[in-house]
Amino acid sequence: MASKLYLDPQLVARGRAAAGQIADDMDAFIRQRTTIAVERTALRLFGVDGVDADGVPLPNRVADQVHEAGGLAGGVARWWVNGRLQTGLGPQELAEAVGDGMVTLTELPLAPEEEIRRAGRRWAEEALDRIRGNRRDRDHRIARLGEGPQPYLYVIVATGNIYEDVVQAKAAARQGADIIAVIRSTGQSLLDYVPYGATTEGFGGTYATQENFRIMRAALDEVGEEVGRYIRLCNYCSGLCMPEIAAMGAMERLDVMLNDALYGILFRDINPERTLVDQAFSRMLNSFAGVIINTGEDNYLTTADAVEAAHTVLASQFINEQFALRAGLPEEQMGLGHAFEMNPMLEDGFLYELAQAQMVREIFPKAPIKYMPPTKHMTGNIFRGHVQDALFNLVGVATQQGIQLLGMMTEQIHTPLVHDRHLAIESARYIFNNARHLGDELTFKPDGIIVRRAQTVLQEAVALLERIVDIGFFEALAKGLFADVKRSRQGGRGRAGVVLRDPDYFNPFEERLRVELGLSGQEVRA
């Protein structure tokens, strides 16, 4: 495809190479470490679920027991598998016994290493088979039912009560939504555990729990059959439990996951080391499960000015792409994010937004680009907001974005009401249909405002990436090069959960995923 923006392919290649360099440096760092969350994820995949009498999730009880005994560096899997071999208990019984303090995994006699590894790999394969099955199930359903055209219409539900959420979600599917995201309760990203069971009270959203995933999945499958369209389910694979939520999503056939390499560091003050290790394993799982990830670059523009900070979005997309490739995630599953966040009072702002959306489309041609609506400059004036959303939708269809997160006229007022979503979907369907092939018809003046804007943003992004390579990634975070937020390598939440791996570290899930995703070696990518 020829660039409509006359982007210099050499410059794009330089940006990619710089981001690749950053990701390679970090990849070596990541491979040497594990985290408490990665280990809890292994336990969940081994079938550990439920909570103890105090409501503490059993994956936490088991992982914490091993961690406190200093046993995490070799991986929880060895202790867990050995525990099962030694006690003869099933996963649930053993987890409960650990929770009750009846069994201390690190004090049991150890079976021969080969025996542990053999059993661990066999049980891991059972869990991965379930995920393979879910992926096939999704493919069959899409083949049978079909799906909406891109840009997919993505809306959120956020009542706090999963049983209201399903009503809202089914209504949205009937109104025309393709993707339903259940917003999480405020603050869940900072919990170092995943809540359990069906939940009916949340704040600004609904807790991500495996049972809530299961309930929403069933409801969307049901309405999908009725409307004759596969309805995708999205949740949030971020925060301190990033890989655990990836595993839960893989087990319950979620289709889309928010999953950013940097978001937790910048916007939730989670320790950089923790996030980098967690994101890698999360993305392996998401890749294997066929989940489309969504990255969170839109957030850069809510803290900084959308015109001035545009290049940081592109730089972060390059970095997210390279991290994702190193976790085996194909481009077709990379919903790289950006947003329509310029001040609406800006003269020619629409031209700049169009330029940037087209630029992202061209630089990441295979990615289902995720386009976020105006939020920062939404006021309580719902009527003006509806028009802002209409312009956003026009850019989305004209530049063939992959996923359009529909703006709500009531942004900044409340989480969407049932009719807010209806009006947003109605407007998007009208605009998408009415301007479906507008992008095919458009060319831009070679020396015009739009072309010049895109070229400037690309140049600035490449310069930023090359500067990060020069000073080092952790140093760049510390200096506030991203989103004007300064984060030190040692600071932030969750660092205590980062552990340097022993040479005999054992994680049969990661081992198998690296093989399946072609990540065994240290290959270099263009």
Binding site: D49, G50, Q92, A158, T159, N161, I162, Y163, E164, V166, V167, Q168, G197, A198, E211, I215, A218, A219, T379, G380, N381, I382, F383, I413, H414, T415, P416, L417, V418
Partner: protein, 259 residues
């Protein structure tokens, strides 16, 4: 582990005897409204808007937007929770209760049951110049995929257009030996449509024509109930297409022995 519960058994159901608006939680009563006040924007204006909403029965009324819109007026958007409820289960709304036929069935019905052409006059009466509605019903090409009455071979349709005085409409009805009159009213300011519609009924009764005609009103603010109150045979609101009106007219003619 919890036993697997069917989520559908957990979903809240509306109380049909105490029906309230729904935002995102059953019975939350959530209402969105907007209006302007003839005072300048400011803290007092915002408080006035909030108090008005509270007097309208909204709990926790909140002004989410206010701005100056010139000439001393201010504009507001508000949300609140409606405290009132209605007994939905016992609501009975009069509806045009006839079998809805399509283009072909209407023409066949006229041939079989009436045996001659049906004459229908349409007009926007009084000062009203908004012909979109009457045109959608009358014009050959119709609207939204449905032909208008002019296309019906068994109907002689006359679209008199806009700003037709009631007296002129009555004169035309006599001249053309009309079977039915379709009166469209779009402008509702100061209830001008009500006076105009009622005036036509008075004229027809004075001429002794009312019983010999099927009289139909239509427009964005017209309901069947309102039309009945004003002395019409039927009223049709927005979104009505020609076959609905034609179905009513021909069946009403047969029912009243006007065929």
């Amino acid at each position: 582990m919890n036993p697997v519960v069917d989520y559908r058994t957990k979903i809240a159901r509306p109380n049909l005897h105490q029906l309230r608006p729904y935002g995102d939680t059953m019975d939350d009563g959530k209402v969105q409204l907007s209006f302007s006040l003839p005072v300048p924007d400011g803290a007092e204006a915002v408080e006035a808007a909030r108090q008005l909403a509270t007097k309208m029965g909204l709990r926790d009324a909140a002004v989410v937007h206010h701005e100056d819109i010139g000439e001393g007026f201010s504009f507001f958007v508000l949300y609140g929770n409606c405290q009132h409820a209605v007994d939905y289960a016992n609501i009975h709304v009069p509806k045009v209760d006839v079998e809805r036929m399509d283009f072909y069935a209407v023409n066949a019905f006229i041939r079989d049951r009436i045996g001659r052409k049906v004459v229908i006059l349409g007009a926007c009466t009084g000062t009203d110049a908004h012909t979109v509605g009457i045109d959608a019903i009358m014009n050959m090409k119709g609207y939204n995929g449905e032909y208008g009455l002019e296309r019906y071979p068994e109907i002689d349709a006359y679209n008199l257009g806009s700003q037709v005085e009631n007296a002129e409409l009555v004169r035309k009805a006599i001249e053309l030996r009309a079977d039915a009159l379709l009166v469209s009213q779009v402008v509702t300011q100061k209830d001008v449509h009500l006076h105009n519609l009622a005036h036509l009924v008075d004229l027809l009764e004075a001429q002794g024509l009312r019983e010999r005609l099927v009289l139909v009103a239509g427009g964005p603010r017209i309901t069947h109930e309102l039309a009945l109150e004003l002395g019409y045979d039927a009223g049709f609101g927005p979104g009505t297409l020609a076959p609905e009106v034609a179905s009513f007219v021909v069946q009403e003619m047969v029912r009243r022995g006007l065929a």
